[in-house]
């Protein structure tokens, strides 16, 4: 079940780095890999895992690079794909950016890293903090903080001892991203909210953190009043960072942990019951003649008046051969983006309970193009941010930090909802 080697290739298939763990796949196979990828891409049958002449190539593409794991054995595909992504994160952590240039500048340290993340093709550690102990070369761009080595039996593998900050702060961002798909007849085909508690900690020593949420299960178990229960949320499939003591959570729903240093996702969750779309967009098509078509787009905010969506961007697809599209808007500005075949309507501030309208007029060539694509129009896509608001209604009730030196840490909590894959099909 072991990986034979890791190749890092440029997009033409030239080897930039190659770490051979088992000596049963030669680097020259990289060429075969790239030829095969090109063939499959042409036939539209490309997958992230390909088997060619008895060798399996598992790869991810990132900026102008391929990260490829090769194997002859029947390995765990899902885990290796994830490993490659973690490897990418490690590189990004060390070089700030991962692309051909930064890799070439830092290839010695990249080899050092590859040496430690796997041994004989078996993944070992992929946490940048832990790896720091073994990496001796200074990265080209990164300031490496001198850290004392981890104690031999360190129960907390994700945090080193002896971290010091002048000012102790914790930032907690509650981020929810809304995925929505609406059919051309206006029915919501699918809606889903993906939430994450993103944390950044700048804390001295080995702090104990405790986080309280308005968790439904907790409220029920405490026998709170029905009024309180209304405010509680029921989250699906919660996932925690490895630092969270899950047994504690299972028994009394407290989220307690010793956080890693820096940024990490404390918890993620999902909400799949239907939520009312926050911003509703409709498009009416009025075809007067070939020389004049009108799109009438209505955007309505369906959240409370006191909230305001910012950075609203509505991408209205137009036919590729549209001539001189001219927009008129009741709010915001709209500009034609021919490279996207779309009208981009931007509204800086969109208060709740309001409706704005855009009318977009364009012509089509009087003679239809010979190969006029009869393909369906891509959907209208919407981007927005809604600060101080969560769809799920999740709330942080408290965030306590206790460290034996007894310092006071400042917790900062923010809420924001953003549009993920927010698509509305056109008729």
């Amino acid at each position: 079940m072991a990986t034979s080697a890791i190749f890092i290739l440029d997009l033409k298939g030239k080897v930039i780095l190659c770490r051979d763990y088992r000596g049963d796949v030669a680097p020259k196979n990289a060429e075969k890999f790239i030829t095969r990828v090109n063939e499959l891409e042409e036939s539209g049958r490309i997958t992230p895992i390909i088997n060619h002449e008895g060798i399996t190539y598992i790869y991810v593409q990132y900026s102008n690079l391929y990260l490829v794991a090769v194997a002859r054995e029947n390995i765990n595909a899902a885990s290796i794909l994830l490993f490659l992504h973690k490897l990418r994160e490690v590189f990004v952590h060390y070089f700030n950016e991962l692309e051909e240039e930064s890799l070439r500048d830092n290839f010695v340290i990249a080899y050092e890293l590859l040496d430690e993340v796997m041994d004989y093709g078996y993944p070992q550690f992929t946490e940048a903090q832990i790896l720091a102990e073994y990496i001796k070369t200074d990265a080209y761009k990164m300031e490496v903080q001198a850290r004392p080595p981890m104690a031999v039996t360190n129960a907390v593998s994700w945090r080193s001892e002896g971290i010091k900050y002048k000012k102790n702060e914790v930032f907690l961002d509650v981020v929810e991203s809304v995925n929505l798909l609406v059919n051309s007849n206006g029915t919501v085909v699918r809606s889903e909210v993906l939430g994450a508690l993103k944390m950044r900690t700048f804390l001295t020593g080995m702090p104990e953190c405790k986080l309280g949420l308005n968790d439904k299960v907790l409220f029920e178990s405490q026998g709170r009043s029905p009024q309180d229960k209304k405010k509680a949320v029921d989250l699906e499939d919660m996932k925690f960072h490895q630092c969270v003591r899950l047994t504690r959570f299972e028994s009394d729903r407290t989220i307690s942990f010793i956080p890693p240093d820096g940024a990490f996702d404390l918890m993620t969750y999902r909400l799949s019951h239907n939520v009312k779309p926050l911003i509703w967009v409709e498009c009416l098509v009025e075809k007067h003649s070939r020389s004049r078509t009108d799109y009438l787009v209505k955007a309505r905010s369906q959240f409370k008046d006191r909230s305001t969506a910012t950075q609203v961007e509505i991408l209205l697809p137009l036919p590729p051969d549209a001539i001189a599209p001219t927009p008129r808007t009741s709010q915001g500005t709209a500009t034609y983006a021919p490279e996207k075949d779309a009208m981009v309507w931007k509204i800086k501030n969109f208060p709740g309970g309001r409706e704005f309208v855009m009318r977009c007029r364009f012509a089509l060539p009087s003679v239809p193009a010979e190969e006029e694509s009869t393909g369906r129009m891509p959907p209208i896509r919407v981007n927005f941010e809604l600060p101080y608001f969560t769809v799920s209604g999740i709330q942080v009730r408290y965030l306590k930090v206790i460290e034996k030196s007894g310092y006071q840490a400042l917790p900062w909590v923010r809420y924001i909802t953003t549009a993920g894959e927010y698509e509305i099909r056109m008729s």
Partner: protein, 753 residues
């Protein structure tokens, strides 16, 4: 030019190295200069230029700065790269590495042992063993875990060396007692590979390992879960204990851990059908999150597992079908899999919604997605018959006006008609609106011609459409020519006067055809017709029989084998690992020849479904792409022909020297005494009456293996029903809960009125 430049560079590096080596002292600039040169060497090495000639100079230069770990790492990398090709020079490095393995810095000790074991030179094993043995009892965990992996490296070069030194025994002890989790995890890896793990896995061991699972790193947790998955608990209570202990692994943020836990749960409960089903319910949520949150690539791997589970237990996933709707910016490989899953989980409740969503994709700009969507609707039409509107959608695709959509739709409709000839009434009028000229692709054209041949009696223009293609017989692809010949011959018996001209053209062209198969088939038709028209009609155009199972479909047995290899490449490639791990260049090249043999052999070997063998056999033979439509007609002839007719021989000839291919079919020729109607008519009342009135004719009890029961139950007995239906036995009623399921089946003999 390039070579010359490199040689120049090589010389330059050599001189620089020599220069640096002769400068004594410990100035930091000297070290920096050396590091630079080594970077250059490693860089050239990476791009594949042979740097082995610098061996001596590099060694000397690096040894002088023995305390610089960066330089050392680069030197080790260099040594390991060229060790195999230069065993003599490698011998010189042994001293250095052995010395370093006793260094005061644990990091250097670990690195030295790792490099020492990575030299992969067989006759150096004697130097490795002592170094590893010392490493295994090192104070520092880094050295220990590296040494543990070293054991495996030696094991792969020289197995006896490892067995003789008793190192595996040491590892077993370390696995139990070492305080460092990663050391223990690496012990598991080595012991598994050396085949020494099996004997160790007992209750006490599993409990101890699982109790400390949280100490392990994410990757090591996967290793542990995988190792434990071979353990078979002695009672159900133990299974529940294990699952309770590990339930939180399903909420881990690392998807590899989640998948490993899922595998363990599924395998643990194989013998407990009801619990197995609960596990499937339980893992649904975490898996769903993995596909919507993780990277596309990881989502792809998870989706492949979803597909496997959906095939085993479609009903469990049928309620979450919207999770498999495609988003616009997902890569094609994700969409492709999602469509297959949608087709697999479609049932009477969701089929309409799914088909509506799929229709959206048919309009997509990406032709691959559009085709996949058509194919998925075709699949649904085959599997879910009671829902209206599905076949109509399929027919609607014929009018979308894009050639590839039309082509795919025609192919799907032909498949649908092969299984449900009754649908012809609804389909032919739409199909007859297209003309063969609109279809470019041979497969679609052949499918269309097959429809004309089988259902030409109700398509007014059929003979003339065929005639038009027959006029350009030579210009068509082999598959089309074969289909055309058969279709024309078949239609001839239904509408002789109109088809005579077309058949004449086809026969003439076929006899002159360079393709052996078409040539022989043409000759056979001709001679049959000359011999006796009635006899020819009986052989060439027997009444059409519905196909109950397509050869492309994976057998449940194969799926079970893949399920055993859950969470590996087997699931991704949809074949057991033996199929792809040993595949070499030679195999792939000869595949083209083997295909026919291979496909023919599979159904023949499948004795369990002997009632089906002849049909399947013919289907499988059809898969070589040369005889697709003929295959359909001929099996119908087989049961009708008495044992004395020369038909099997003729078929053998027809398939171009495939006499031995047909051999397995021969034993099937003796008729089953009982022949059952494909569509029995019996009301529940009648059934109940007969059930009470008739005496039991035969009682038999058979034991099923627990995994098979789990599979059958998880799939809502659909598989059982399908298999029984294939043998013309239909379920009147079924129900019950584990462990007592009841199925009331019935069949009707051909003779019954």
């Amino acid at each position: 030019m390039g070579g010359e430049k490199v040689r120049g560079e090589l010389g330059e590096i050599k001189t620089t190295l020599a220069g640096l080596s002769s400068t004594h002292g410990r100035a930091p600039e000297l070290l920096a200069a050396k590091r630079e040169v080594f970077k250059k060497i490693v860089n050239y090495m990476t791009v594949g230029i042979d740097m082995s000639s610098l061996f001596m100079q590099a060694m000397t230069a690096a040894v002088q700065h023995g305390d610089d770990i960066v330089l050392k790492k680069m030197l080790y990398l260099y040594i390991c790269t060229y060790a195999q090709s230069n065993p003599d020079l490698t011998l010189l490095t042994i001293n250095l590495l052995t010395k370093d393995s006793k260094d005061t810095d644990p990091h250097i000790r670990g690195l030295a042992i790792r490099s020492l074991c990575s030299l992969r030179v067989a006759n150096l094993v004697e130097y490795l063993v002592p170094a590893i043995s010392v490493g295994l009892i090192d104070q520092h965990s880094y050295v220990r875990r590296t040494a543990v992996m070293g054991v495996l490296k030696v094991y792969n070069i020289d197995k006896p060396a490892v067995h003789n030194t008793g190192m595996l025994g040491t590892l077993k002890e370390m696995l139990q007692n070492d305080p460092d989790a990663q050391v223990a995890a690496n012990c598991i890896t080595v012991l598994e590979k050396a085949g020494d793990m099996k004997g160790m896995i007992d209750r006490a061991f599993v409990v101890r390992l699982l109790n400390r699972i949280k100490e392990f790193s994410e990757w090591a947790q996967c290793q542990v879960l995988e190792a434990v998955s071979v353990y078979r608990p002695s009672n159900e209570g133990e299974v529940y204990d294990m699952m309770n202990l590990l339930d939180d692994r399903l909420t881990h943020s690392n998807s590899a851990v989640v998948m490993a836990a899922i595998k363990l749960f599924l395998h643990l409960t194989l013998a407990m059908p009801a619990t197995h089903q609960q596990v499937l319910e339980r893992v649904k949520d975490p898996m769903q999150t993995l596909i919507s949150r993780d990277h596309f690539e990881t989502a792809y791997a998870v989706l492949a597992h979803f597909h496997l589970l959906a095939q085993r237990a479609p009903i469990l996933f049928s309620s979450i079908y919207t999770a498999f709707f495609c988003r616009m910016n997902e890569p094609t490989y994700i969409k492709q899999l999602k469509l297959e899953i949608l087709a697999a989980i479609a049932d009477e409740h969701n089929a309409y919604d799914i088909a509506t969503e799929l229709t959206e994709y048919v309009g997509d700009i990406d032709p691959h997605l559009a085709r996949d969507a058509v194919r998925a609707v075709g699949r649904i039409a085959l599997e879910v018959q009671d829902v209206g509107g599905i076949v109509e959608r399929l027919l609607g695709f014929l009018e979308v006006g894009k050639p590839y959509v039309t082509a795919e739709a025609v192919t799907q409709i032909a498949d649908l008609l092969r299984r449900f000839p009754d649908l012809a009434e609804i389909c032919v009028s739409s199909v007859s609106n297209i003309s063969p000229q609109d279809l470019e692709e041979p497969e679609a054209k052949a499918a269309f011609i097959w429809i004309l041949g089988e259902f030409g009696h109700s398509i007014q223009d059929a003979p003339y459409l065929l005639e038009r293609v027959a006029g350009k017989f030579e210009g068509e692809a082999p598959a089309v020519r074969a289909a055309l010949l058969t279709a024309t011959a078949k239609l001839f018996f239904k509408r002789p006067p109109e088809c005579q001209r077309a058949l004449g053209m086809c026969l003439q062209a076929a006899v002159a055809d360079s393709d052996m198969l078409i040539h022989d088939r043409g000759l056979m038709y001709l001679r049959l017709l000359q011999y006796s028209v009635n006899e020819a009609a009986r052989v060439i155009a027997p009444p059409m029989e519905a196909v109950t199972a397509f050869a492309e479909e994976q057998s449940p047995e194969l799926r079970d084998r893949i399920f055993d290899e859950f969470n590996t490449l087997a699931v991704i490639f949809r074949e057991p690992s033996t199929a792809f791990t040993r595949r070499t260049t030679v195999d792939t090249l000869s595949n083209g020849f083997n295909d026919v043999d291979g496909e023919g052999a599979v159904p023949a070997a499948d004795e369990g479904s002997s009632l089906l063998t002849d049909t399947e056999q013919a289907e499988a033979l059809g898969q070589d792409g040369l005889t697709p439509r003929l295959a359909n007609g001929s099996p119908g002839a087989a049961p009708a022909a008495s044992a004395s007719t020369p038909l099997p021989d003729l078929l053998g000839d027809l398939l171009g020297g495939g006499g031995d291919l047909m051999a397995p079919a021969a034993p099937a020729a003796p008729q089953p005494v009982l022949s059952l109607r494909p569509h029995p008519h019996l009301t529940p009342q009648e059934f109940q009456g007969k059930w009470g009135a008739l005496q039991p004719a035969k009682k038999e009890s058979l034991m099923l293996a627990p995994p098979s029961i789990a599979t059958a139950v998880a799939g809502g007995l659909q598989e059982l029903n399908r298999r029984m239906a294939a043998a013309s036995l239909f379920t009147m009623a079924s129900g019950g809960a584990a462990p007592a399921f009841r199925c009331y089946l019935h069949g009707q003999t051909e003779a019954a009125e």
